[in-house]
Amino acid sequence: MSTTLDSKIPDGPVGDKWDNFKANEKLVNPANKRKFKIIVVGTGLAGASAAATLAELGYQVDAFTFHDSPRRAHSIAAQGGINAAKNYRGDGDSVHRLFYDTIKGGDFRSREANVHRLAQVSVNIIDQMVAQGVPFAREYGGMLDNRSFGGAQVSRTFYARGQTGQQLLLGAYQQLARQIGIGGVRLFNRTEFVDVVVVDGRCAGIVVRDLMTGEISSHSAHAVVLATGGYGNAFFLSTNAMACNVTAAWRAHKRGAFFANPCYTQIHPTCIPQSDDFQSKLTLMSESLRNDGRVWVPKVAGDSRAPHLIPEDERDYYLERLYPSFGNLAPRDISSRAAKRAVDAGQGVGPKQNGVYLDFAEAISRLGKATVAERYGNLFDMYERITGENPYDVPMRIYPASHYTMGGLWVDYELMTTIPGLYAAGEANFSDHGANRLGASALMQGLADGYFVLPYTISNYLAGWLNKSVPDTSHPEFSKVEHEARDRYHRFASVGGTRSPDWFHRELGKIIWDYCGMERTEAGLEKALGEIPALYEEFKKDLRVTGGTDGLNQTLEKAGRVEDFFELGMLMCRDALDRKESCGGHFRAEYQTEEGEALRDDENFAHVAAWESTGDPMAPQRHVEELVYEEVHFQTRSYK
């Protein structure tokens, strides 16, 4: 059975929808805006830009983050760049082309109307960030520079050395800081969102835990925005920051928000391979390196000669061979799987034979060391610090790792979840990238949501609540949810078992990586759906959290996050099992072409799977939103 999800897509041809929405939406006049309280959870690109803009418009805004400062959000780590359809190169880019590339890159599993809007507002993002003083790379004439990125044949990526995310986040943070300074936003730092409160079918507020004191408290609002990032840390080892987690989205899911496409996860092709068993995270080497680096492995399995001793004709530059028109810039999912195949075939390199080479020798001889250093110097330094090897002399070793999650809370065109008044923005929603995200498009989406979409769409909801009373925190539902939160933390602290939360996280991550990672099979997923609940039972019985629930306790915080990953892990596998096709980041070994490429089933699966929680994590309810393509026609994605 399935309820129909109303995606609230506006009328008109795809290119007019956003304008039509704006022309017809309900507005809140400036004097009335201050009557509304909006809570924004998360102060990454999406959250900081939303909070700052909503405060500028005159709403009362309370922002929450578990970090000590908004500037620490994981967005800070993005290296490569941000896309925008500016066509400053005159190389044939346009809103339509960015729209088309994103739909195609997403393997025809995203909502046309949302993607088109994203491409439209992309140009405003660059204007806005430059006005704020983001020091994007420039040409000698003073104009903005661009680079190319995987999955596109135009140069539309704006960048600030290898620190684009940092500079964009600092821009948004500074705009937020200004609002904090003048009293437009109240910031609650080191405060973790632990639950959402739903009263009469509408989001009435949130319950949070003060990480310094352990105190649990309630906050009511007219609307709540979750901009809490992605769940890539479900795999334990990923390129995400250590604290990234799914808790906010998952708690909302358990209270009624549908979770869409959890199996769409992105494995990034260029990360430093794992070097030991207690490794805490994997480090991304920006995809921009593939502009000049060439990927290869030895032709013969088990060839353990040093790279410079392997002659040209004994090397397999497999991306250039298999995908001549995109070569080393083939999209992420395709490059990742190609690397996995090489390593699985025994052609892996490095001490653990778990990587492939990314070689700059040719670039250095063509461009000179100085140019290569200017383009990638800080990345090369980072690589050397971590591995002890110098990439100017020895090729880098890379391997795919969990990086980004396309799935997330289901939202309609207005970014509202299935709980009225609860919105999701940035990586936390599922909205724009379908089954695979193109490089440099997450920063674009986070800022689009926060700066240019939510501020418009949220008034459409709030207008209906003008001068109506909404429940405050004295409503019994708040104390009930607070009570449940306290019980939950007491439960973790009192299990008294033998294993730390990290131990469980690591074990859980291995299961998800093995069976729901780069390649999935029915048998493997069934197996994972047996192993995860078993490990979860063990977690409940054998967890050990030292220290109490009052005051700062990082072990306790971790326990809550790991528990949510358990339930999410089950949903990821369930979703992967039910999606009997391959598309983008979801590769089911049973569904592939003779050349080993993803085989989509547009007849049966051109839809979003949106899951409803039933209380039993092993028996969620699947709903579908059919994807209707008016502008773009299905085609087999080819990067040959």
Binding site: D68, R71, A77, A131, R178, M382, R385, W503
Partner: protein, 258 residues
């Protein structure tokens, strides 16, 4: 190739709360590969503590890529440890040798009160940014980005300063606990750019005065530059000071005009 380090003695600062008295606690790490990062060594120690039923050492960290500025350890008296231009999380054990004793402390500065163990409160940095570390540009009205050309050398110099990760090592390394390098880095980034001119002097004045309200004063030791993981040049402080002096005269002029 990886090597194994043996017999490391860690002296770790433990302090149960802001008001509590702290003390060093000694732990021995029998064996660890030099591929491990410094923070992975602390992870291992923490797993062991939990195993023994004790509370884990509290420390701040997140990205572990040297960019978020969360990690903040004083290692053998050096902010972020012995490797130049490297944040704690990017420090690897290959910089140490078997038999070493490693002293691990939190940032120590009066503006950064200790919260617990190795974690400190750096929100005074946010107060400085809130006072003026921005360009006022409300969402919506920005002109086309290429209407504001920025010469490449200017953009590069702004970027050099903008790289600051807000970690606070400069403050921790400074004998006076001054925040001049941090503050000047932000002021330089914004004051160099054409977009930053309108608020240039007000920004400088407000930020410097907020800095002075929280932090100690600079006496040109230069320890900050040596400790900075982003190798921000101390030149930015000269630029800030020059703009601060101008700000004072400019504002007087503005007042006189009224």
């Amino acid at each position: 190739m990886s090597n194994t380090l043996k017999n490391l003695t860690l002296k770790v600062w433990r302090q149960s709360g802001p008001q509590a008295n702290g003390a060093f606690e000694t732990h021995v790490i029998d064996e660890i590969t030099d591929e491990a990062s410094f923070l992975e060594m602390i992870d291992i120690l923490n797993e062991r503590l939990i195993d023994e039923g004790r509370e884990a050492v509290v420390f701040d960290h997140d990205c572990r890529e040297g960019i978020c500025g969360t990690c903040s350890l004083m290692i053998n008296g050096q902010a972020h440890g012995p490797e130049r231009g490297t944040a704690t999380c990017q420090l690897h054990m290959r910089k140490f040798s078997s038999g070493d004793t490693i002293v691990i402390e939190p940032w120590r500065a009066s503006a950064f009160p200790i919260i617990r163990d190795l974690m400190v409160d750096r929100s005074a940095f946010d107060r400085i940014v809130e006072a003026g570390g921005y360009i006022t540009a409300a969402t919506g009205g920005a002109p086309d980005a290429n209407l504001i050309p920025v010469p490449k050398p200017v953009a590069d110099a702004a970027m050099d300063a903008a790289q600051c990760i807000g970690c606070g090592a400069c403050v921790a390394a400074c004998p006076n606990g001054a925040a001049n390098l941090f503050t000047a880095a932000k002021i330089t980034h914004l004051n160099l750019l054409p977009q930053g001119q309108a608020e240039r002097f007000k920004r400088t004045e407000d930020m410097v005065e907020t800095m002075d309200a929280h932090f100690g004063s600079c006496t040109n030791h230069g320890e900050c530059e040596a400790a900075c993981p982003k190798e921000i040049s101390i030149d930015v402080i000269a630029l800030m000071n020059a703009d601060y002096r101008k700000a004072k005269t400019k504002n007087r002029k503005q007042l006189a005009l009224k």
